[in-house]
């Protein structure tokens, strides 16, 4: 299926993070980080304000270090495209507690809405499958969201998903941007008193 995406990104993130429990969320820079913050800032969130192309790898590091936790990387198509090789690296490790979900609006939203490669033919779910992800799906319709939410929270294996979302103007909901604070907050939430060792 192709065409213009129609899903609303804020509604998508609201659904995926509903009753999130102890889900750890890495948010790629830009609109995806604002989307995650729009649901409410959370100590188990690690929103990136830079390090473009690194969100999925940061999620891999977390997933390997915390095998009992589920780690969700939520990022944009531009951010994922900059780290395409990381899909091969992740699939080679196959952490069963990692999920990578790309909010794909097919544009670089922060820089003037220039089309990304997903508007020009690149199929990120096919890339992930070709890299060795056991499952990958692309959602164009709202009826796939609840099954995706269930899979994110309950799957016992690595998964990849692309959610095609519309280009929209959403309110700016900014997460904290002090990197040292974000680091200490997440370590504190995951490691307790040993976080400052």
């Amino acid at each position: 299926m192709t065409g213009q995406p129609t899903l609303n990104r804020r509604a998508v993130v609201q659904t995926l993070l509903r009753e999130r429990g102890d889900l750890v969320v890495v948010a790629g820079l830009g609109a995806t980080a604002w989307d995650v913050a729009s649901v409410g800032d959370h100590p188990l969130d690690f929103p990136l304000w830079g390090a473009m192309g690194g969100a999925a790898m940061l999620g891999l590091g977390l997933a390997l270090a915390q095998p009992a936790r589920t780690v969700l990387v939520l990022t944009g198509d531009g951010e994922m495209l900059m780290g395409l090789g990381s899909l091969a690296t992740i699939a080679a490790q196959r952490p069963r507690n990692l999920r990578v979900v790309v909010m794909d609006n097919q544009v670089y939203g922060e820089t003037g809405r220039q089309p990304t490669h997903t508007a020009l033919g690149t199929d990120l779910a096919a890339v992930a499958l070709a890299c060795g992800f056991p499952t990958a799906r692309t959602l164009w319709e709202a009826d796939g969201l609840e099954p995706l939410r269930t899979a994110v929270h309950q799957s016992d294996d690595l998964l990849f998903a692309v959610v095609k979302v519309a280009v929209t103007d959403e309110p700016m909901t900014l997460p904290p941007r002090d990197g040292a604070y974000l680091k200490h907050r997440l370590r504190g939430a995951l490691l307790g008193p040993t976080a400052l060792e």
Binding site: F46, L48, G50, A51, G54, L60, A65
Partner: protein, 174 residues
């Protein structure tokens, strides 16, 4: 007489002593022995990368989850790391890289020279403390100091393993 302990064994022993659990890498001939030691170690996970910057984000994520990582690469990979080092600096992540050098000591391949010569400056420009080892006897003390510094003071440190230590790569005897 016993064969002297190889310097790669020193590094592997230090990794164990300092609880390095993840070893990510883009391979270099100079890292082969160390990679084999780490691969044979059930307490370590090897993570092959497609590009070196992946190892920086991986190490940051691992540290957030309470695990220590080290990144092995050759000097040509340092250039691939530049922007991702912002993550380390902005968040004050500890970071340890061991860099085998090319493009310096008796290099045969001119394509290795520009990045090899720029490696220490590029690292320092991004705030990475640079240690250099030129002979095998200094490997243990240098890598130990670098590891302590990185994880105790929450700073990025790179140890450059000189080509004089590794030997120049030969191309068909040239």
């Amino acid at each position: 007489m016993d064969t002297p302990r190889h310097w790669t064994t020193d590094i592997h022993t230090l990794f164990k002593a300092h609880h390095i659990a993840l070893v990510s890498y883009v391979p270099d001939a100079g890292h082969t022995r160390l990679l084999n030691l780490c691969r044979a170690d059930e307490g370590m996970r090897l993570v092959p990368l497609t590009t070196e910057e992946e190892g920086i984000a991986l190490a940051a994520g691992a540290y957030l989850g309470g695990q220590r990582a080290a990144l092995l690469m050759q000097s040509s990979g340092v250039g691939n790391c530049i922007n991702m080092l912002s993550l380390v600096k902005t968040c004050s992540f500890p970071f340890l890289a061991l860099v085998t050098m090319r493009g310096e000591w008796g290099e045969f391949n001119p394509w290795q020279v520009p990045m090899g010569q720029a490696t220490p400056d590029v690292l320092r420009a991004m705030g990475v403390t640079v240690y250099r080892v030129t002979d095998a006897a200094a490997v243990h003390s240098t890598v130990e100091a670098a590891t302590r510094f990185a994880f105790a003071s929450y700073v990025p440190v790179a140890v450059l393993l000189s080509q004089s230590l590794l030997g120049s790569k030969s191309f068909g005897g040239k």
